[in-house]
C-alpha cells in the first residue's frame, strides 16, 4: 500500500473484477455462444460461460484499504451472491 500522496497519475489503482455465474447454474448466454461456435465448426469448444469483467479506477489513498473496498463493492454491488461468484485483482500504477 502506498502512503497518501498528492493527486496524480501515480496514486491511481485499477481493480479488475471478474463476475461469473455459479458453477451449477445454467448459463443460457454461454449455451447460445457454444452452439454458435459449433455451427461455425469450432467443435473442440466444450463449454462456454459468459460473465462480467469490470474495471474500476480508484484513487488510491492511505485512508482506505483498497483491497477491502474492492471486495466490499464486488460483494455488495457488482455481483449477486445468489447466482454469482466474483474474484478480483488490483493493479497499482
Amino acid at each position: 500500500m502506498k502512503s497518501h500522496v498528492v493527486w496524480g497519475a501515480s496514486n491511481m489503482a485499477h481493480a479488475n473484477v471478474y463476475v461469473t455465474l455459479k458453477k451449477d447454474i445454467l448459463d443460457p448466454q454461454g449455451e447460445a455462444v457454444k452452439n454458435a461456435l459449433h455451427t461455425l465448426g469450432y467443435k473442440n469448444v466444450m463449454d462456454v460461460r459468459v460473465g462480467k469483467y469490470i474495471v474500476l479506477t480508484l484513487e488510491n489513498n492511505s485512508e482506505n484499504d483498497i483491497n477491502a473496498v474492492v471486495e466490499e463493492i464486488s460483494k455488495k454491488v457488482l455481483s449477486n451472491p445468489v447466482i454469482e461468484d466474483f474474484s478480483f485483482d488490483i493493479v497499482e500504477d
Binding site: Q29, V77, V82
Partner: protein
Amino acid sequence: MKKFGIIVLPGSNCDSDCFYAVRDYLEQDAEYVWHEENNLDRYDVLMIPGGFSYGDYLRPGALARFSPAVQNLVKEAEKGKLIIGICNGFQILTELGLLPGALMRNKNLKFICKHVTLKVEKVCAPFTSRLRVGQRISLPIAHKDGNYYASDAVLEELNRNEQILLRYDEDVNGSVQGIAAIISKEGNVLGMMPHPERACDSMLGNTDGMYIFGSVLDYLTKRGQ
C-alpha cells in the same frame, strides 16, 4: 379508501400504469412515491412497478435496491405491510433479499412481450383470494430477465411453505418449475413477473389482473373492519 404508494425510481416505466389501475379500476387512492422518500408510513400497500430502474445496468434491480425508498420498504415489510413488486419490482425484491432466488436472462436471451397462461398454484388471503387453485388466468408479460432461479434447497422450502402463487402453463422464459409469482415466507410480500396492471380494462381485452388487485382490496377491507 386504501392508499397505494407506487415507488418511482429513475427508469421506472410502469409507474403510471399501476397508478391508473389502482385509481381507475380498483378505485382506491394511488400516490407516487419518489425514490428518495424516507417515510412510507402512510401507505397501506407499497408497489414497486415495472420498468428499467437504473437502466437495468449491471443486473436488473442491482442499483435500485440501494434507493432510500426501497431501503425503507424493507422496514415496512418487516412490519407486515403489503408489498407488491411487479416485473422490475420483483427483480428488485430478490436483489434486496426480501424474496428468495434471482431473475436471470430469459432462456431465449430475448425480450418477450405477449400474453401467457398462468396456473394458480395457491390461494391466499392478500393476493389470490379471488382465484381457485388450478384456475388458469391470462396476463401479459414484458421482460428480458424473467427466468426465475433458486437453488434446490430454496425451491424445496418455497414448495413446503406454499410460497409459489402462479406458474406458467408453458415454459416461456426458462423459469425453474415454471415459477411466475412468489410470496415471502410471512406472506405479505409478493413478487411477480406478469403484469396485472396491464390487464384491468376490458377495452384492452383482458381483466384478469383484477383478480390480484381485487384480492388485495378484499384483504385490506376485511382487515380494516
